[in-house]
């Protein structure tokens, strides 16, 4: 029932599974895999040959006489006659009834017998006789069809839908000997197995929680965050992770536990924008549009001018206002009603990570997790572009700021250092970078 989802999810992880020429150390495995694939195809060939042989045999041999329809009928009617006799003997059928039934059956019998006479007359007519000794033309065609079309079509279809080079992967075998190159799922499995034995290992929960989130296993994620909080204590990251997880696990509804978590986050970190934003959305879900607007306005007022999330809040706000004006019944007043667009792919083609106008709307529809993922994608795209076109000062500034906003301080410092080295000698640029570094507190 999750098939679609699975494919979509794991499709992204799908790696070229067979042999890369460069991966010399995997060569042994490759040879083994090739042998296995070969074996599989041999198996397919054998199976196909057996099938074709089974189908073609009667066509190649001489035809044998099948009972004609009328002799089969005769058998049935004779048997029915017997049954009537038996019932009459038992006294279940009265004499008159039995006689009537018998008369009827005899009529059927005679009709069937006539049929046989007709049939044999027909069969004596050479034009109709088909049971000659040499294989007739239709039989030949059928043999060719079986021998050629069945294997060709089968292999064609199989190549388009099958996965011949994928080995089977039984659970027990996998547990017994872990192979090199573990997939993310296997790694998760190992951590899970350890946690099963040592459920109070807070560090383990902490490690696995974001991985679950990435795998869209939100309920597991929520549990992992909750356990991390239980064993390691509260931190804003853990609480916000937990809140995010249960919101996602509940179809985007800000459920009571999430509210509690965001409130707690605000206690620890007064003014924390993420918590404020989602609590405002919670109000909206409670139909308290006005309250939601007021909260978001407050959030905007406190927001630093260059805060990356400003546009999100502004767009949300304007939509809320519109919905308030339009009244509850206006379809347009439903901020979250539009179908959730998929996150844009191919982020590297964007001009920078600053979301476009549609981008904002898109991002607004996303959960924080998705937003973050979306942002990272954008940032990575920007970084990749700057690798090629390194003279874009504005780009570098945006990149540093973005890293900082995302909490990737080391990357921010790295990007800053790189930018400095590129613009060495350009005074204006260096000055601009210096002031940015001061503003953000990035590696001076």
């Amino acid at each position: 029932m999750f098939l679609k989802t699975e494919t979509a999810t794991f499709g992204l992880f799908r790696l070229p599974h067979s042999c890369h020429p460069g991966e010399a150390h995997l060569f042994h495995q490759c040879a083994w895999a090739r042998g296995r694939t070969m074996l599989l195809w041999i198996g397919f060939s054998l199976l196909t040959i057996v099938v074709i042989a089974a189908l073609a045999r009667p066509l190649l041999g001489g035809g044998k006489e099948a009972p004609t329809s009328h002799s089969a009928d005769l058998a049935v009617y004779r048997d029915q006659l017997e049954a009537i006799e038996a019932e009459k003997d038992q006294g279940i059928l009265g004499h008159a009834e039995a006689e009537a039934a018998r008369a009827e059956l005899v009529r059927r019998l005679l009709r069937a017998a006539d049929g046989i006479a007709d049939q044999s007359a027909k069969d004596q007519n050479p034009a109709d006789a088909k049971s000659s000794e040499s294989p007739s033309t239709p039989a030949n065609i059928a043999v060719y069809a079986a021998a050629v079309l069945i294997p060709l079509l089968s292999i064609g279809v199989y190549i388009s839908v099958g996965s011949p080079d994928l080995p089977g992967n039984p659970f027990a075998e996998r547990m017994a000997h872990g192979r090199p190159g573990k997939s993310i799922d296997e790694l998760i499995g190992m951590v899970e197995a350890r946690l099963k034995e040592k459920p109070d290992d807070g560090k383990g929960w902490e490690v696995i929680a974001p991985v679950y989130m990435k795998q869209q296993r939100f309920e597991d994620g929520a549990r992992a965050y909750a356990n991390a909080i239980r064993f390691l204590g509260e931190t804003p990251e853990r609480i916000s992770g937990f809140a995010e997880a249960i919101v996602l696990a509940n179809n985007g509804l800000i459920v009571p536990d999430a509210r509690k978590a965001y409130h707690r986050l605000l206690q620890l970190h007064p003014g924390q924008p993420e918590a404020r934003f989602w609590l405002a959305v919670a109000k909206e879900q409670d139909s308290d549009i006005k309250g939601a607007i007021a909260d978001l306005e407050g959030l905007l007022k406190d927001a630093p001018a260059e805060a990356s999330w400003r546009p999100l809040v502004e767009t949300k706000l304007s939509e809320l206002r519109k919905s308030l004006e339009g009244g509850p019944d206006a379809g347009g007043g439903a901020p979250l009603a539009q179908s959730k667009p998929t996150a844009p792919q191919g982020a590297s083609d964007g001009p920078g990570f600053q979301p476009s106008k549609e981008g904002v709307a898109t991002v607004l529809q996303m959960s924080p997790e998705e937003q973050r993922a979306f942002m990272s994608q954008r940032i990575d795209g920007l970084a990749a572009r700057l690798e090629k076109d390194s003279k874009d000062l504005e780009g570098w500034k945006r990149l540093v700021r973005a890293y900082k906003v995302m909490g990737r301080d080391a990357d921010a410092a790295g990007a800053m250092a790189k930018a400095r080295s590129i613009f060495v000698g350009d005074r204006a640029a260096t000055e601009a970078l210096d002031s940015l570094a001061k503003d953000l507190g990035v590696g001076s």
């Binding site: 029932m1 794991f10 074996l39 009328h70 029915q80 017997e82 059928a142 996998r174 997939s183």
Partner: protein, 658 residues
């Protein structure tokens, strides 16, 4: 690797079914025995290929091969073995594979055991059967492929919906599908008959065992589903008129009618056109059931999670088969020869009445199932059609059917003597009357109709017993002679009587449990007790327990009756690990007089739990009745006469006619 082998086998099977569709039909057209014989080979080959595919998938489930997407989505490494296996058909893709496996199985059985059939008829039957297999095979390969792989493999599966982890449900779908798909045989025979332009008594005899086998499987399949819903869902009911239940019930009603009309056709060569039409309609209803369950048109406990694209494909398959069959029927029905004559009061007349009532009641179920869909499509209003609708429409139609039922087998063919039959049924009627008075006097509550319904059930049961008595002349001839006669009774007669007896028993159970069920909702703390239906239930203890893949809150209830300890019941609330989902496990005390059914509800403020306690009188009769119907069908199927016609058979009296 095994899984890929299975995948390839499935593809080969689809190709073979295409071959089987074309070659035998062409052979029949050309009267070429060799080409027709290919049909037998192809049918058997196709079955073994699908069996390989199916076994490969089962293997993947058993070893938890999570490189198979279907296993990931529906299994989990911690699941007990039996549910790993039943998980194969607990989901859309796997159950479709089971579906085509059964289609192929029936085809192969005809090929292997149909040596008594005329070659052209058999060739046509196998062709039509192959067409069904081909359509669903392609459907599986291209929209619902259970052999889809994942790379890299996820570490563990998502688990099977825990309410499906149940022994009754493990075997309910295979029976149900065997029933649905078994009617495809009747369909194939009907199409073959229309193509050949010949329908006669012999045809009816050939088609009857297949119909009977399908009907048996469907009967027991529906009963298992109902039993599962009864004890697993924790709602205390056994039938909910849920659209998906109806989807299986409609083919059953039509199939029951078909079984009876084929009898008329076999014995008297009457009702030919009707029987052919009914064969087509029965399988059409099976297809419609598949469509409703899998298209997402309906949502229900039993429905699969679905995808609209699949629904469209199934709809197309359904329309092609039903439309094609009905078009062929319209073109050919006029050519069928008229059959034997009979008076309105006769065995045939009784069976016609049976057919009218069964098909019309089937139509009311159809209306009740489709009306909400139609209304929503036209006006956008959403409605639910529940038990009240069916109680008002279906139930009244069943009453004349049950009243008439005991008369039927006593009536003579062609022209019956109603008065004579009524005399023979006096004893049954008297017993029923006594039951009526006794039950009315004894319970003194519930709807006034209930004692009548119970008496009606008893009438049907007694009528069946009495017919056997009449046939063996019990009481008329000496005892050993009667026993000898009993042994000599044709098995089909015994089977019929058993099946009718089962109907009566089920009716008694249905009437009693619907009218006299006692429902108590109560909050209890530890030490509290409650009294219901003569039992005293005491809340002894609440504890937590850990099962193989769930944790549960277990409540212990001590049940006493007249001061004596009867048993302790342990209803529980479970929380499964994967997927994490709460379920309710009912604690049931089963006895002949009825089931004490306890469900634990929410924890209460200040300790204790809410409880729902039902007493369902005679509820077991329903499933025992169905089981007896199943057994009756089996005995009837084992009758030598249904297998008859093999030309090799030695016959005592062959010379008498030929």
């Amino acid at each position: 690797m095994i899984i890929e082998f299975g995948h390839f086998a499935l593809i080969l099977a689809v190709m073979v079914s295409a071959f089987q569709l074309v070659v035998p039909a062409y052979g029949a057209h050309k009267r070429d025995a060799r080409l027709m014989e290919v049909g037998d080979r192809a049918a058997v080959t196709q079955f073994f290929l699908i069996l390989i595919a199916f076994v490969a998938l089962v293997h993947a489930y058993v070893v938890s091969d999570f490189s198979v997407a279907n296993v990931v989505a529906n299994s989990h490494s911690t699941k007990p073995l039996i549910y790993r296996i039943s998980g194969v058909w607990g989901n859309h893709e796997g159950s479709m594979l089971l579906w085509v496996l059964i289609v192929a199985l029936f085809g192969a059985l005809v090929a292997l055991f149909g040596s008594n059939l005329p070659a052209t008829l058999k060739a046509h039957v196998l062709s039509v059967q192959a067409a069904i297999g081909l359509a669903f095979g392609l459907f599986i390969l291209f929209t619902s492929n259970p052999f889809e792989r994942l790379d890299p493999a996820p570490f563990d599966g998502r688990g099977l919906n825990p309410i499906l982890q149940d022994p009754a449900l493990a075997f309910h779908p295979p029976f149900l599908y065997a029933g649905y798909v078994g009617f495809s045989m009747a369909f194939s025979f009907a199409i073959a008959a229309l193509i050949e332009g010949r329908t006669d008594a012999a045809w009816a005899r050939w088609v009857r065992p297949w119909t009977l086998a399908a009907w048996m499987c469907l009967t027991i399949g529906i009963a298992m589903g109902s039993w599962w819903a009864y004890y697993e869902l924790g709602w205390g009911g056994w039938w909910f008129w849920d659209p998906v239940e109806n989807a299986s019930f409609m083919p059953w009603l039509a199939g029951t009618a078909l079984l009876h009309s084929a009898l008329v056709m076999e014995k008297r060569e009457a009702l030919k056109v009707w029987t052919i039409l009914l064969a087509i309609l029965t399988f059409s209803l099976s297809l419609m059931g598949a469509f409703l369950v899998r298209s997402g048109v309906l949502t229900s406990v039993h429905a699969f999670a679905v995808d609209p694209q699949r629904g469209t494909v199934i709809l197309a398959i359904m329309l092609v088969f039903i439309g094609g069959a009905l078009a062929l029927f319209a073109a050919r029905a006029g050519e069928l020869r008229q059959g034997g004559l009979f008076a309105p009061v006769s065995r045939e007349g009784g069976l016609v009445l049976n057919n009218i009532l069964l098909t019309v009641s089937c139509a009311t179920v159809l209306v009740g199932t489709l009306y909400p869909l139609a209304l929503e499509a036209m006006t956008g209003d959403k409605i639910s059609v529940g038990a009240p609708f069916f109680n008002m429409t279906f139930v009244p139609l069943m009453i004349p059917l049950l009243v008439a039922l005991p008369f039927g087998p006593f009536l003579a063919w062609k022209r019956g003597d109603l008065y004579g039959v009524a005399q023979r049924l006096t004893f049954a009627a008297v017993v029923a009357l006594i039951v009526l008075v006794a039950s009315a006097a004894w319970v003194q509550r519930g709807p006034w109709l209930a004692p009548f319904a119970i008496a009606l059930g008893v009438f049907v049961m007694m009528g069946s017993v009495w017919e056997i008595g009449y046939r063996v002349k019990a009481g008329v001839v000496p005892w050993p002679e009667a026993m000898r006669r009993l042994r000599n009774l044709p098995r089909s007669v015994v089977g019929t009587m058993l099946a009718h007896f089962g109907v009566g028993l089920a009716v008694v159970g249905i009437a009693a449990t619907s009218a006299y069920r006692i429902e108590t909702i109560v909050a209890m703390r530890q030490g509290d007790h409650v009294e219901t239906a003569g039992y005293v239930l005491t809340f002894k203890d609440a504890s937590k327990a850990r099962g193989p893949n769930y944790t549960e809150d277990l409540v212990t209830l001590e049940v006493t009756r007249g001061g004596k300890l009867v048993t302790t019941l342990t209803p529980s609330k479970r929380l499964y690990d994967a997927p994490p989902m709460p379920t309710t496990e009912a604690g049931i005390l089963a006895s002949w007089r009825g089931d004490l059914y306890t469900v634990v509800g929410d924890p209460q403020k200040g300790g204790g739990y809410a409880f729902r306690i039902y007493f369902n009188p005679l509820v077991r009769f329903i499933w025992i009745g169905a089981l007896i119907m199943f057994i009756g069908g089996g005995i009837s199927l084992s009758d030598r006469r249904l297998r008859v016609g093999a030309p090799v058979r030695s016959r005592r009296r062959a010379g008498a006619v030929a």
